[in-house]
Structure formats: structure tokens, C-alpha cells
């Protein structure tokens, strides 16, 4: 579904990620793990060109979407981001009502019919298991929701525009354990419908969720990929000593 070749990211001329080559299979969950500052988040941001709005960031290398170069498949970033959604570490609903949070991106993508908008809202809220909790207060501010609810709303907002790929940047790390578990269950239930790339620091979560796993590591301040493969294979029989000590908690 999405592949990269020799992807490099640098900020103001300082390279933070070098030669990242991955392949995310359609409908699968790809876990991205590694110690802090090894370029995982930069890698995600490069995939939906969010690096464009980060001052000083530049990206080189190749990214393909469905076998096609993303620059030719989606000349505009707007169109690209419509197909590749993103969930952030900190839930970031807009300071407006729950309903408006969901409808705004939909309207932006040309859906104006009231009834249709209502249907989509309900169905995505059901998909993320939020409908029963918020159906009576759709017009209240989204900021009044708990952290976990906010994060699920953000996921609902992202899937409302029906992307094929979802990028998740540590979606559970700022949530309390109960909410984190809810969100993790939700992500697990989305397997097969979306291609998901998830950055996480929680190795147990990565092992539970991901089909494939990619391990990043920092060398001389530059991040790069040191291991990738099917999750269970990597966890059980890696030949890389660093990876092994990282996965078993002795390093990183």
C-alpha cells in the first residue's frame, strides 16, 4: 500500500533520518518502534507531507502509494492527506462542537448535504465506540470530553473522510491506562479496513497490535532503520544484538 525508498528527513540541514526503506502492506498494521529522537515521528510526517508546514524541514527519497509515486498520484498535499490520515500523540480536537469537529473536514471535501453529514457522523462515532457516550451532546464543545474520548473523536474525524492509510504517532501515550486500552482495542478493530502505521514506545503494545514491525535506532544523532519484519519473527528470532537487547528491555 505504502512504500518508501531511501527516505531522508533533515531540519535546517541537519539530517535526523537517513535511508528509511519500508513497506506497509494493505490492511495491515505496521509498528514503528525505537528510542526517542530516532526520527520515527519525522518519518510519519514525511509520509503525508506534514513536513511542509514544519519550518526548515526537508525530505528526500521516494514514497509510493499503491505502487505510484505520491508526487504524481497526488500533486496537491490536500488530496494526499485526504488519503493518508494522521492521529497525533496529543488529542487535538478543534475548539468547537463535537459535530462541527466531524463535519468541518467533510465539508472541506465537498459534502454539504445535512442528512448525509449526519449519517457519516453517526457511523464514524459508532465505529470508534463513542456514539453511546456523546450522541446526546453533539453540540457541546469537544474540549469537554475526556482525553480518551478526545482521541477517539480524532480518530473518528480522521476516518470520516475515508482515508486508505492512517498514520498514528503514539496515539495512546498521553492517555491514562484505561483510555489507552480503549483506543488500542479500537485500533485493533480497524485492522483490515485501513493500512495503519503506528509509532509507539510501548513494546508490548507494538507486539499486540502490529503485523509487521520496523525498529529505528540512532547512530551519531541520525536515525535509521536497523530491523524490520513480521512482528513475531522479529521479537522471537532477531539476529541483531542491539534489537535483541532493545526488545528485551536492556537497552534504549
Amino acid at each position: 500500500m505504502i512504500t518508501t525508498e531511501n527516505l531522508c528527513v533533515s531540519y535546517n540541514g541537519r539530517t535526523v533520518l537517513r535511508d528509511a526503506t519500508i513497506e506497509a502492506k494493505p490492511g495491515s498494521i505496521l509498528g514503528l518502534v525505537g528510542p526517542s529522537g530516532c526520527g520515527k515521528s519525522s518519518f510519519l510526517a514525511a509520509l503525508n507531507r506534514l513536513t511542509e508546514i514544519i519550518p526548515g524541514a526537508s525530505v528526500s527519497g521516494r514514497i509510493q502509494f499503491d505502487g505510484q509515486d505520491i508526487d504524481t498520484a497526488f500533486p496537491s498535499s490536500v488530496e494526499l492527506r485526504r488519503h493518508i490520515g494522521m492521529i497525533f500523540q496529543k488529542p487535538n480536537p478543534f475548539a468547537m462542537s463535537i459535530r462541527r469537529n466531524l463535519e468541518l473536514p467533510l465539508r472541506e471535501h465537498g459534502i454539504h448535504d445535512r442528512q448525509h453529514l449526519g449519517q457519516i457522523c453517526e457511523s464514524v462515532l459508532r465505529d470508534v465506540g463513542l456514539w453511546d457516550e456523546v450522541s446526546t451532546r453533539l453540540d457541546q464543545s469537544a474540549l469537554n470530553l475526556s482525553g480518551g474520548q478526545q482521541q477517539r473523536l480524532c480518530i473518528a474525524r480522521a476516518i470520516a473522510i475515508k482515508p486508505q492509510v492512517l498514520l498514528m504517532d503514539e496515539p495512546c501515550s498521553s492517555l491514562d491506562p484505561m483510555s489507552a486500552e480503549r483506543v488500542e482495542q479500537l485500533i485493533d478493530s480497524m485492522r483490515g479496513q485501513y493500512t495503519i502505521l503506528i509509532v509507539t514506545h510501548n513494546l508490548a503494545q507494538a507486539r499486540r497490535l502490529s503485523d509487521q514491525i520496523t525498529i529505528f535506532w540512532t547512530e551519531d544523532g541520525v536515525g535509521r532503520i536497523i530491523e524490520q519484519g513480521d512482528t513475531e519473527t522479529v521479537f522471537n528470532e532477531t539476529s541483531n544484538a542491539i534489537v535483541d537487547s532493545y526488545l528485551t528491555g536492556r537497552k534504549g
Partner: protein, 281 residues
């Protein structure tokens, strides 16, 4: 601890002095305008036939209208340009250009009003005069006033926009929203309080501006019939007439100063109260 106490006492005393200045101003305005108010009452300032203080006619209404027209007109000019500038430096300008743009706007904020007045009189008025008349009218004054208060709107909007959480903008971008949609749906609504505050502050600046308006507005005391008709603001009236005013007339001018002060205080207090309740929003 003695020194701590004396510090508190001294600084508080200084704070009281600072705060008392505004009361002192009101007190003196009241004192100086009492003779006129006692002799004429309030109503004559609105019901007299016209403003001819030497002939005993004291209608301030046309000047109040001219003051409000020029100030609100200035906001109509300054708000879109100022907000546009703020959006420009935050979302459209290349980084180097943004820094320069900010610096130039700050410079614009520092240009003295007499210089604006001079430029308006010598450069702008002859251009406006092609619509007829001398070019010294409410339109010219409004345009120059708009330019003068524009930096206030631009700089405060800039601050408000820059203070927005980066996550909102990233989140909106990640949802595939275009740049204009992010600005229109997320940024401007999110920063509306800061932008609104900037506009209100600009309004008080416009209400308080004297010299440039005096040089440009034509200074006729008459109910303006269009933007192209000349008019005199309360400020310009004080500056024009205080110099030669004799006792009674001087007192009337203090009344118009008092009125100006009242209008501005009401606006400022309204805003500060609104800001006080900001946390509920």
C-alpha cells in the same frame, strides 16, 4: 521580614499613584468643565443649532458623529489589511520575508502622526481631490487614520495567531484541509479574541488620534452627508480651539474632552471585563 514589608508597601504605593493618575485626569476634566456644565447643562451640547462657541452655540453632535465615522472607517480599513498581514507572516510569507514584514509593520507603528498628516496633506489629499473639493475630507482622514492604527491590529493579531496551539494547525492539515480553509476555519476563529482585542485597541487609538485628523479632515462642523464631506472630530476641535479659547469656551472644550474620555473608558472597561470572563469560553 522588614525589607520584604517595606518593598510591598513602596511598590504598592507606586501602584496606587499610577492608578490614581486616571482619576486625577477625570477629576481635572470635571473641574474644568463644571462651569460649562452648570451653565449650559448637558442637553445644549446636543440640541443647539450649531457649533459657534463665540456666538453661544455649542452643538457637539456633528463632531461626535465625525469622530465615530472616522474611527470606525479606520477600523474598516485597518482590520482586513491588518489581519491579512498577520495571516501573511504566519502562513504565506517565506520565513525571511515574514521577519522583514514584521519589522516594517513595527516601523509603521512608530511613525509620528504629524508625519502621517503631512504625507496625507501633501500627497494623498490632492489625489482624493480628483473626486472634487479640496481633498480634505472624512475619507482622507479615515484612510490615513486606518493606516495609523493598522499596525495595532496587525501586531496583536499576529501575537494571537502565533499563540494558537501548533497541534490544531497540524491536525487540520493532516485532515487534508487546504491552507485557506485552515486559516478560515481554524486559525481566525481560534484567534478571534486576540484579534478582537487588537481591533478594539485600534479603535481607541483611532478615537484618540488628533494631529493627523486635524490636518486632513477639513474641520467643518457640519453633519457629514457623505464620506467626501469634510468634518471635524472632537480631538481636532480641542486642538484647533483650545489655544485661543477664553474661560467659558475653554470649559466647553473640556466637556468635549470629558466626552471623549467617557467613550474610550466605556470601550476599555467593556473589553477588560470581557477578558476577565475569558476562562469560561
Amino acid at each position: 521580614m522588614r525589607s520584604d514589608q517595606s518593598l510591598t508597601i513602596i511598590t504598592r504605593a507606586l501602584a496606587v499613584i499610577s492608578a490614581a493618575i486616571v482619576l486625577l485626569i477625570v477629576l481635572f476634566l470635571l473641574r474644568e468643565s463644571t462651569p460649562a456644565l452648570r451653565q449650559l447643562g448637558w442637553s445644549r451640547f446636543f440640541t443647539d443649532a450649531s457649533w459657534h462657541p463665540l456666538s453661544g452655540q455649542f452643538n457637539l453632535t456633528p463632531m461626535i458623529v465625525a469622530t465615530l465615522v472616522t474611527s470606525s472607517g479606520a477600523i474598516v480599513i485597518a482590520a482586513p489589511l491588518g489581519i491579512g498581514s498577520a495571516v501573511f507572516v504566519n502562513f504565506y510569507a517565506p520565513r525571511r520575508l515574514a521577519a522583514w514584514h514584521r519589522r516594517l509593520i513595527e516601523l509603521l507603528a512608530g511613525i509620528p502622526s504629524v508625519v502621517f498628516g503631512l504625507w496625507g496633506l501633501v500627497v494623498l489629499a490632492p489625489i482624493i481631490a480628483t473626486f472634487g473639493g479640496s481633498g480634505q475630507n472624512l475619507l482622507t482622514a479615515t484612510i490615513v487614520l486606518g493606516l495609523m492604527v493598522l499596525p495595532t491590529v496587525a501586531l496583536l493579531s499576529d501575537t494571537a495567531i502565533a499563540a494558537l496551539p501548533r497541534e490544531w494547525i497540524q491536525g487540520a492539515a493532516a485532515l487534508g484541509m487546504g491552507r485557506s480553509a485552515i486559516v478560515g476555519w481554524i486559525v481566525l476563529p481560534g484567534a478571534r479574541r486576540g484579534i478582537g482585542g487588537g481591533i478594539i485597541l485600534a479603535l481607541t487609538r483611532a478615537l484618540g488620534e488628533t494631529m493627523a485628523v486635524l490636518m486632513l479632515a477639513g474641520n467643518i462642523v457640519e453633519m457629514p452627508s457623505s464620506l467626501l464631506s469634510p468634518g471635524r472630530t472632537l480631538n481636532a476641535n480641542i486642538a484647533l480651539e483650545l489655544g485661543y479659547a477664553s474661560a467659558g469656551h475653554r470649559s466647553v472644550l473640556f466637556v468635549s474632552g470629558l466626552m471623549l474620555m467617557l467613550v474610550v473608558s466605556v470601550i476599555v472597561l467593556f473589553v477588560s471585563r470581557r477578558e476577565g470572563t475569558r476562562r469560561d469560553g
